[in-house]
């Protein structure tokens, strides 16, 4: 098994952190992983993305030509990467279905917004929510691994947000479970 995931959004949305979290969760499950950021001129407010690979075996190329999974934290990222996703792949879109134009019928879409969950989740958790939704939807990893990884990776100055982030992971996973409306991704 080898899966390639692109996480994309605005700089400041926690795109790179979500990728790290995913990679770390893979390590917890004794899998191989690579993480590459789009680096350099990217900045807060600009576009940011990272490429994560997760595999049981040694990972050759860390570069993703066509991702199995796209996590689009905003609509511009969705528009930019939608065409690249592999046939039968999955896109987690952080928007409601009527906000975007779907241009393909050979991939799966899953729409999630913070409004879907609860009013208590802060806007800054969209990365965690989307990541959790992807993990739950694909069963690529266990939700528990994601929570363990978060415990390990959360910076000291953000410790007070740990509980609410874990809550976001759980709520998002529950939302996916309750909304099996789109095709199940294999």
């Amino acid at each position: 098994m080898e899966k390639s995931i692109i996480i994309a959004g605005y700089g400041g949305q926690g795109v790179l952190f979500a990728g790290k979290l995913l990679s770390y969760a893979a390590i917890i499950e004794n899998m191989n992983t690579t993480w590459i950021p789009s680096y350099g001129a990217e900045m807060r407010g600009g576009s940011a993305n990272c490429s994560v690979k997760i595999a049981n075996d040694e990972i050759g190329s860390p570069i993703i030509n066509k991702p199995d999974i796209l996590i689009a934290l905003n609509i511009p990222s969705f528009n930019r990467f939608e065409k690249d996703v592999k046939k039968d792949g999955l896109i987690i879109v952080c928007a409601s279905e009527n906000e975007v134009t779907k241009s393909r019928d050979d991939i799966n879409y899953f729409f999630i917004t913070l409004k879907n969950l609860t009013k208590n989740i802060q806007l800054s958790f969209i990365n965690i929510v989307a990541l959790s939704a992807m993990v739950r939807k694909t069963k690529l990893l266990k939700i528990e691994s994601l929570i363990l990884a978060l415990n390990k990776l959360i910076p000291k100055n953000k410790l007070h947000m740990l509980t609410s982030n874990i809550e976001a992971i759980k709520l998002s996973a529950k939302f996916v479970f309750d909304n099996k409306n789109s095709k199940v991704f294999v």
Partner: protein, 359 residues
């Protein structure tokens, strides 16, 4: 090593951590993307360890400080990227001539000129064949995973002190910026005795004064030194060659690639094998000295074509050609200026070549 906990580290940080483990006492550097995390990490860690960290006014200053520290037998390192390494060339030639050990980490970005900050392999020639003057050679090591970046950082310090010469650890922007699970294992050369008392400038108390210079004006002195240093490099060539081969035994096509491109090529090789194409991979780890004989010996009657793949316009190609020595055709594919090659492109090329062989 298996017992040690795997952690997720960025390539640059891994190199910095390994340098500390290798006993690097001094770091001198000037920031440049895509390797700035090395200096950033060491600016804190070296001070905490009670070691020396100096943010320099230029790359030129940094490499000359490495010479200063190295000449006292102290493990010292600098790191930079393409155009920064360009500024260090004169001093690297001097290090070779003065026989001063030191480690230079070069994380390549797009060139020429100031170029861009995208990953590249455009400095193969700069590292292996240098811009310094005279008949000098440098040991150049090329990792392709983060774990190997750690292991080769240890090896860089080891070889620099074992042979008293500059060693370049040549990575590219992807290896610098990528994160991968790895473990910071123990430096395997911790107990090695480098005999620095025999040559280091550590104060002339109770011994004759000595110096380490690169100016040799006496008649025939420099000629003899050149022969001696060359002999040393032949010794390095005999003892220190490292390379990786993958599925080359029955191969009709052999791909040659180093660094990140080698692992991208490995994916393409695996995919091509699934399609029944007999293709293998040869990855030099020591780019200088180049494993010429090892590659040459792989070229038997099976092998129809060698395909050299690089993120440049074919800098390793001439080493590959001279190793193959006309025994089969050598083709090239590459992208300059920060262009990244993906495995689909390599696979396509392999299929194309294979169709031509069969027809």
């Amino acid at each position: 090593m298996e017992d040690e906990e795997k952690i997720l580290l960025k390539g640059n940080i891994a190199i910095a951590k390994a340098a500390i483990n290798a006993g690097c006492e001094c770091y001198f550097g000037y920031p440049i993307t895509p390797q700035s995390e090395i200096g950033e990490y060491l600016s804190k860690a070296m001070i905490e360890e009670g070691r020396i960290f100096i943010p320099c006014e230029s790359e030129l200053a940094a490499i000359n400080m490495v010479i200063g520290a190295g000449s006292t037998g102290t493990k010292a390192m600098t790191s930079s990227s393409s155009c920064g390494i360009a500024l260090m060339q004169e001093a690297i030639s001097a290090m070779y001539c003065q026989q001063v050990p030191g480690v230079i980490v070069s994380v390549m970005r797009g060139g020429p000129g100031l170029g861009n900050i995208a990953p590249s392999q455009g400095d193969y020639n700069q590292a292996c064949y240098g811009g310094g003057n005279g008949d000098y050679k440098v040991i150049v090591l090329s990792p392709s995973t983060i774990q190997e970046s750690i292991d080769l950082t240890y090896l860089s310090f080891h070889l620099a002190f074992k042979y008293r010469c500059p060693v370049i650890l040549l990575a590219d922007g992807i290896l610098g910026q990528m994160m991968e699970p790895c473990s910071i294992n123990k430096n395997p050369y911790n107990d090695y005795d480098y005999n620095i008392e025999k040559w280091a400038l550590n104060g002339a108390k109770n011994r004759e004064p000595r110096n380490l210079v690169s100016l040799h004006m006496d008649l025939g002195e420099l000629e003899k030194l050149n022969y001696d240093l060359n002999k040393k490099f032949l010794e390095i060539e005999k003892n220190e060659i490292r390379y990786e081969i993958f599925l080359t035994d029955d191969a009709n096509i052999i791909i040659t690639a180093f660094g990140t491109v080698a692992r991208v090529a490995k994916t393409a090789v695996k995919q091509a094998r699934e399609m029944g194409i007999k293709v293998g991979l040869f990855r030099p780890i020591t780019l200088s000295p180049f494993p010429s004989n090892k590659l040459g010996n792989l070229i038997c009657s099976n092998v129809k074509i060698v395909l050299d793949v690089e993120m440049n316009l074919g800098q390793m190609l001439k080493d590959v050609r001279s190793s193959v020595f006309g025994k089969c055709a050598v083709k090239f594919m590459g992208k300059p200026g920060g262009g990244i090659i993906n495995s689909d492109e390599i696979l396509e090329k392999i299929i194309d070549i294979n169709n031509n062989i069969e027809s």
